[in-house]
Every structure is written in structure tokens, then in C-alpha cells.
């Protein structure tokens, strides 16, 4: 489309009164942004605590249940000469 038409559309979009920015916009936005940040920090902390708790639980379980010990042999050695 030609530049002339684009300019015409741009003029139409800019025509009319510009909307008034609300006076309390900044306070509102900073409050909401702070809340978002705090929530994000809390979420991250929660994930770390969960990971740590999972790791500790695993260590305790491994120490008690000893799951990595080789299983007892199921084959008896051959018996000779008695």
C-alpha cells in the first residue's frame, strides 16, 4: 500500500483527543509490580525448599534402607568331599 494511504491512516489513528493518563497510574502499577516480584521470589524460594527437603529425605532413606548394598547371593557354592 502506498505511503500516502499509510500517512492518511496514521492521521486517522492520531486524530481526536488523546486519552488522559489516570493520575494514580504510577502508584497502582508500582504496587502491582512489587506484588508480582514478591510472589516470584516466594515461588522460587518454595521450589528451593522443596528440592532441599526431597534431597534430605532421600539421604535419610538411603542411610536407613541401604538400597545400594548387593543382594545376598542366591546360588550356594558346590559342596565336595564330605
Amino acid at each position: 500500500m502506498s505511503d500516502r494511504k499509510e500517512n492518511e491512516v496514521r492521521r486517522l489513528l492520531g486524530a481526536g483527543a488523546a486519552p488522559q493518563v489516570p493520575a494514580d497510574l504510577l502508584d497502582d502499577v508500582v504496587r502491582r509490580g512489587t506484588r508480582l516480584l514478591r510472589r516470584r521470589v516466594l515461588a522460587r524460594r518454595l521450589v528451593w525448599w522443596l528440592a532441599l527437603a526431597g534431597f534430605l529425605a532421600f539421604v535419610v532413606w538411603a542411610a536407613v534402607a541401604d538400597p545400594f548394598a548387593p543382594p545376598p547371593s542366591e546360588v550356594t557354592p558346590p559342596l565336595h568331599g564330605w
Binding site: M1, K5, E6, E8, V9, R10, L12, L13, G14, A15, G16, A17, A18, P19, Q20, V21, P22, L25, L26, D28, V29, V30, R32, G33, T34, L36, L37, R40
Partner: protein, 165 residues
């Protein structure tokens, strides 16, 4: 530690304050075009703007040299797309007759002067599609201007018809 954090918050708020002072008017105009509301009654555009700016504030320390205006505009576009099924109705703005996607492309390309490639990347569309959408949107807007008078009189007639018992 705590003092440094407090200092950072103060600095961020001050930087953000001057950013909002410079950018809010223009962004609100774009948002009002997107929601197709009249300039003096634009609650949806205001909500869109404050959500986008709140995210910009939260991301302020992680922008790493990225232009905050570009970031805020991106947030505005994403949020508009996410709720476009609710914002599609024509509330009397210039772009009322357009679909949400057409409004977004027109506002980004023509009002904001974003390049075709960036618009396509932002919306996840092929460039060809962006060009088509923009072309169609401009045609509708220009056509609407030429028969605006006729439309107004048609609406007046319809209004008269409705008033009659």
C-alpha cells in the same frame, strides 16, 4: 545488604517513574486503539496498560539494556491477544470494525512504526500474513472514513425505528 536492597528499590522506582511519565500517554493511546474504546471512556485500555506496566516494573532489573518501551509494548500486545476474545466488540473507537488481530497489526505497524519482521516475530506469524492483515485493516479504516456519514445516518434511522413501538 538490606540497605543496598532498599537503595536498589528507590533507584528502580525513580527510573521507572521517569519512564512512565514519558511513555504512558503513548502506550495508553495505543491500548485505547486496540480495545476500540472512545478516548474519554477507556477502562479496558487502562487495565491493559497497568497490567503491562506492572510486568515492566517487575522485569526492570532483568531488562539488561533492552528498551523498556519495547518490552512494555510487547506485554501490551501479548495481553491484548490473550484476552482478545473478550475485547473484540466495537465500543466506538476508530478501529471498531476490525478484528483484534487486524487492530493489533495496524497499531504496531502504522501507529507504533514497528518493522514488518519484528511484528511478524512478535505475533508468531509469517511476514506475508502480516502484510495481508495490515493491507486489509488499512482498507477497512479508509473505507470507513469515506462512508462514515452514511453509516451515521443509517444508525440514526435504526435508532428511530427502535424507539417506535
Amino acid at each position: 545488604m538490606r540497605e543496598r536492597q532498599a537503595y536498589q528499590v528507590v533507584r528502580r522506582t525513580r527510573e521507572f517513574e521517569s519512564f512512565v511519565a514519558g511513555a504512558a500517554g503513548r502506550l495508553l493511546h495505543a491500548a485505547t486503539l486496540l480495545t476500540a474504546e472512545p478516548a474519554e471512556d477507556n477502562p479496558r485500555a487502562r487495565r491493559l496498560l497497568s497490567a503491562a506496566l506492572a510486568r515492566t516494573y517487575a522485569a526492570w532489573n532483568r531488562l539488561h539494556g533492552e528498551d523498556p518501551y519495547t518490552f512494555a509494548r510487547q506485554q501490551l500486545a501479548y495481553r491484548f491477544l490473550m484476552m482478545s476474545w473478550r475485547l473484540r466488540e466495537d465500543r466506538g473507537g476508530v478501529l471498531g470494525p476490525l478484528s483484534p488481530q487486524e487492530r493489533l497489526v495496524l497499531v504496531l505497524r502504522v501507529h507504533e512504526g514497528v518493522a514488518e519482521e519484528q511484528t511478524a516475530a512478535l505475533l508468531g506469524l509469517p511476514m506475508e500474513r502480516v502484510r495481508t492483515l495490515c493491507f486489509r485493516a488499512m482498507s477497512i479504516v479508509l473505507a470507513g472514513r469515506s462512508d462514515a456519514l452514511r453509516l451515521t445516518s443509517a444508525e440514526t434511522l435504526r435508532g428511530v425505528a427502535r424507539v417506535r413501538p
